[in-house]
Symmetry: C2
Subunit: 291 residues, 2 copies
Amino acid sequence: MIAPGFTGGMLDRADPLRQDPEALAAAMGDWRARLLVLDNFEPELDGEGRLVWTTLADAPEGSDLLLLGLDNGKPCFAALTPGMQPPEGRPMRMFGLLDRFAPGEAATYAGARSLLDWHTRHRFCANCGAGSEINRAGWGRKCPRCHAEHFPRVEPVVIMIAEHDGRALLGRQPAWPPGRYSALAGFLELGESIEEAVAREIKEEAGVEVTDVRYIASQPWPFPSSLMIACIGMAKDDTLTIDKHELEDAIWVSREEVRAVLRGEPGQFLPPPPYAIAFTLLTEWANSQVG
Amino acid sequence: MIAPGFTGGMLDRADPLRQDPEALAAAMGDWRARLLVLDNFEPELDGEGRLVWTTLADAPEGSDLLLLGLDNGKPCFAALTPGMQPPEGRPMRMFGLLDRFAPGEAATYAGARSLLDWHTRHRFCANCGAGSEINRAGWGRKCPRCHAEHFPRVEPVVIMIAEHDGRALLGRQPAWPPGRYSALAGFLELGESIEEAVAREIKEEAGVEVTDVRYIASQPWPFPSSLMIACIGMAKDDTLTIDKHELEDAIWVSREEVRAVLRGEPGQFLPPPPYAIAFTLLTEWANSQVG
């Protein structure tokens, strides 16, 4: 399988360091410590597609340092700066950079971006409303009033194709670039398994019932903090009832057509970009035996 | 595969109803509407292991009604009551009930319990600190001041065994009943895939490196709101370095021994309970071909 985008991170998350204030202070004082260079939430890449780092001294006045992990023992941080605003809308400039990342670098960036984003949207305690404080080297917040602990949020999303008679169901959202079709997707809800969420979403969006859901792959998706869980379900029939609030259109496509489109040949649709797990999912499906 | 505990829910989640205040009001006025009977967070079961329901009129004064879904068209609600307190500690009485649930009933209860728990811990806007209000028929909260929307939190947890030379790695947490050993587990973090989280957790807790992680099954776990993702990874060797902050002990057990223990025969450990996905995972592993 092609490794899904944003996977393959090389940092040691160094969990014990997060819980040891003295060790963390020593890491901040380590001369090898380095700070991820960001313009608000956007990274800087060098000519080889590697993230650019600087020294901790370059953190803006009043920043909090979040421990991203250790790179061969070197402590790596990101700065949560006082004026940081959570990004809004589709990060188009960011998407343009994704093809340029060297292996593993997108994963480091994804973790940093999601963590920073979470802090900017969670400055207050959801339990009592007081301002909360950074905890665990950035991997949590704590309320000084009610003492509730809060942890960075990871949102599981199921992303899937239904299969019927050797064809895959793809959908199109209105916000996507013209011509693009991809896997259906939706947030997994409280009280359901991955397999149940897959079946519910395909039924809701396209009116198709699936069984025998199988897991294919997963990836972190840092816009802002999803865990994408890619699956395939077997459709009972191919009649579509499209929910127009969710999808602009949906189509059934053959393995042959998907293979051609993934090779870059013209077809009735444009595929998802390579860093999206939908690309991994479609590739796996197109190359699998007819089931 | 045995269906994991808390799966198999029969309610239609009725997403369109959540977004349509008029339709929701009509559902609340429907004479077939019913309210889940709860004593704070504990359910009541009838002699057949079915949840007990009552009429909406029995909701305590000042309650908010959360839409659980439709049961063959009948609107089903749970009441978020003014004095409701989030449960603390291990719900031992609850665990005692789990074997008694009729098929599908534990899933309905799991969704309701997690949703109520989330509301009790998230009465304030994490973005600005103002008191937030129930939204989307209970499947969200909205801030009247900054207009941020908040959605119920689902926390992905990886739960896994490492396999080496036909044996499985099991661990023991100090809080568990005497003699119990089960799969290792931990929260998936921002910026990692399921496979990466599995490898990290086994390395952190037991010092064992795994590759070739494969997905087995998932379940919702409503204490308070986890998505359990069960996997198996292939260990490079069997030398253990146990993190005593996480595990009291860890052992390698053969397929034969796991099979015997799951059949209820005496062995060197007691297995996890049947409603836990670790039970599903161990059963799958024990019955699989030697790989």
